[in-house]
């Protein structure tokens, strides 16, 4: 392909090919401190291409593909090329990652122990992870938490954090010195801006952490915390995992290990400041 960018994020290497230079330039800039794929061999390939030859130039639209794809995915405008690349990487992980149990969760670390936050889009897990990273927590990731199938530890996968709509200005104010990608309007999820993980997150990305607390945040409610019983945790985590079924018995064992060993709470919160307080209170009470 015309343009190419290779990068390693945590244990996973990617090769990204593009018909346009723009997205590659953005990726090179934002991921400039990240290492290369090990052995020079990426785990996965992402392709950003023009479905019809004229689509490179006329109302340019990026079709996302790679080693693994879903059919009928709608193309994105060239201005959202960075988003297309990130979605392409998500797709490879979701469809084909099987070395780790994948949980749709953000993860931050303190003292070698990991806090996981999982929930629907809009629950605030990315925003909370970003805010906690401003308070001394090490960011491990905001999209996928990688759970080791042998020992249950959480491996970091610190991609660019995806902040949406109101959360963008909240994080911009809290982290004025941070690096951000371009602000993109009119995406399928509204306005999006990516936050680059800080130096601490990048330097420590090969250090796993033992999961110590699992939270299910919900935004927009009166502040409340309640413990979640094991069977509910089990069900919610299977829903939050894209590769649980593909992993067979090892996936089952990994999930049982979490359910049996990691305390779980649901947090309802009216605003992010309140959420941060609740989260740290639960952590301190462990």
């Amino acid at each position: 392909m015309r343009h190419r960018f290779d990068v390693r994020i945590g244990p996973v290497g990617f090769r990204i090919g593009s018909d346009w230079l723009g997205p590659i330039t953005q990726l090179e800039e934002l991921y400039r401190d990240y290492p290369e794929p090990r052995d020079g061999i990426p785990d996965f390939t992402v392709r950003l291409f023009a479905a019809r030859p004229w689509r490179r130039f006329v109302r340019p639209a990026i079709t996302i593909a790679g080693d693994y794809t879903i059919p009928d995915a709608a193309p994105l405008p060239l201005a959202q090329g960075l988003l297309a690349a990130e979605m392409g990487m998500n797709l490879q992980m979701a469809l084909a990652q099987r070395r780790y149990l994948l949980l749709h969760a953000s993860a931050v670390e303190r003292d070698g122990r990991a806090l996981l936050m999982t929930g629907e889009s809009g629950s605030g897990k990315s925003t909370l992870a970003a805010l906690l990273s401003a308070r001394g927590w090490r960011l491990m990731g905001d999209e996928f938490a990688l759970v080791d199938l042998d020992d249950g530890s959480v491996h970091a996968f610190p991609r660019l954090l995806s902040l949406k709509n109101e959360a963008i200005s909240v994080v911009e104010l809290t982290l004025p010195a941070a690096r951000f990608g371009p602000r993109m309007e009119g995406t399928p999820k509204g306005a999006i801006r990516h936050l680059v993980p800080n130096a601490q997150a990048i330097e420590a990305m090969e250090l796993p952490a033992a999961p110590a607390l699992l939270l299910f945040p919900s935004f927009g409610f009166v502040a409340e915390t309640r413990p979640v019983p094991p069977s509910e945790v089990f069900i919610r985590l299977t829903q939050a995992s894209t590769n649980y079924v593909a992993l067979g018995e090892r996936g089952f064992d990994a999930l049982i290990r979490i359910v049996a060993g990691v305390p779980a709470h649901a947090i309802d919160y009216p605003d992010t400041a309140s959420a941060v307080t609740q989260v740290e209170a639960l952590w301190d009470a462990l």
Binding site: I41, T45, R47, D67, R98, R99
Partner: protein, 335 residues
């Protein structure tokens, strides 16, 4: 050695001789893996290279591919078992086809293979009962509109596709191995009569030679060669494991002599085997090979004109020209 190969031939060369990877650099490994994944053969490759010393990242990816194939095998065998249970009361022969048959019978062709839907073959006379029994056990139609349904039932060699409501897996119920509108009509009764029982009672496969005939029929007369490298690897494995005694005669019986002969030649060209006998190429083989290996190191399908030519041809083989025109017209109108 000349220009570096980076199309399907690279994959074929490595499958034929794993030691050919000895001098590979990172780019060649990346290219090989990209092509194998695009051809649905990463599990096959992973099994073929098992035990070879390769870069650590490649070793990891191949181990993952072997595990994925193993899980796929388990899921395929379970679908076959649930179909067996659903149809047990009918006292009707049920034959497994394609990938599920290979793994159920422990054949070489099943090692590392990606398996899609469950394909079974039953007598045409029993097809309504089979349909009813599957419905009873939780399968339902994948939603097709009325035109496709009428076309399917009248002309195709299988029921419209069914999917299981809980497990979300598809089953294709065939009553012969080529559409009824195809220019070639294999002997469905003979396929059933010569079936081979599987060890675990109840289910069957086609006879060894019929499996080869089906693989050739499926590749040339029924499809546009998409997935051809994988199908020819099946043929190669089957020939290596079972030989070709009686194959020519059986192919002639089904009217598929040309297709079987071509399948053997092309599998021999790609993957090589002493069992093939003469490997003289025929006119036209080069074009087939060009279509089969039309893949680049990024996993993209290449050679669009060759591919298109084969796509049109595959439909031409399935239907008489007037019907094809009507079919393509209606499909086009529907967008």
């Amino acid at each position: 050695m000349g220009r570096a190969v980076s199309d399907g031939w690279l994959l074929a060369r490595v499958l034929r001789d794993p030691a050919a990877t000895a001098g590979f650099n990172a780019d060649m490994w990346t290219t090989l893996i990209g092509i194998a994944r695009a051809e649905q053969m990463i599990g096959t490759l992973g099994c073929r290279l098992d035990g070879l010393i390769v870069p650590e990242t490649a070793a990891r990816l191949f181990a993952d591919a072997r595990d994925a194939a193993e899980e796929g095998r388990r899921a395929a065998l379970w679908e076959a078992e649930m179909a067996r249970r659903a149809l047990a009361g009918l006292d009707c022969p049920v034959l497994l086809l394609k990938g599920t048959a290979f793994v159920a019978a422990g054949m070489q062709a099943g090692v590392g293979r990606a398996i899609g839907d469950l394909d079974i073959l039953v007598p045409r006379a029993r097809i309504e009962e089979v349909e009813a029994a599957l419905f009873e056990a939780g399968w339902e139609w994948v939603k097709e509109d009325a035109y496709d349904d009428a076309y399917y039932r009248r002309w195709m060699h299988e029921l419209p596709p069914l999917i299981h409501r809980d497990r979300d897996r598809m089953i294709d119920v065939h009553h012969t191995i080529l559409p009824l509108t195809a220019r070639i009509t294999p002997d469905a009764a003979a396929l059933l009569a010569d079936r081979t029982p599987l060890a675990e009672g109840g289910l069957h496969t086609l006879s060894r030679n019929d499996i080869l005939v089906h693989a050739a029929a499926h590749l040339f007369a029924d499809g546009d060669l998409a997935g051809g490298m994988r199908n020819l690897w099946d043929v190669h494995c089957l020939v290596e494991e079972f030989g070709i005694a009686g194959l020519a005669e059986r192919a002639r019986h089904h009217g598929l002599s040309r297709e079987v002969a071509r399948a053997l030649r092309l599998a021999g060209c790609l993957y090589g085997s002493v069992a093939y006998g003469s490997d003289a190429r025929h006119v036209g083989d080069a074009l087939y090979l060009r279509r089969l290996t039309a893949r680049d190191g990024w996993g993209r399908a290449t050679r669009p004109f060759t591919r298109f030519a084969f796509y049109v041809r595959s439909h031409w083989l399935r239907m008489p020209p007037a019907m094809l025109a009507r079919h393509l017209w209606i499909k086009w109108r529907k967008g």
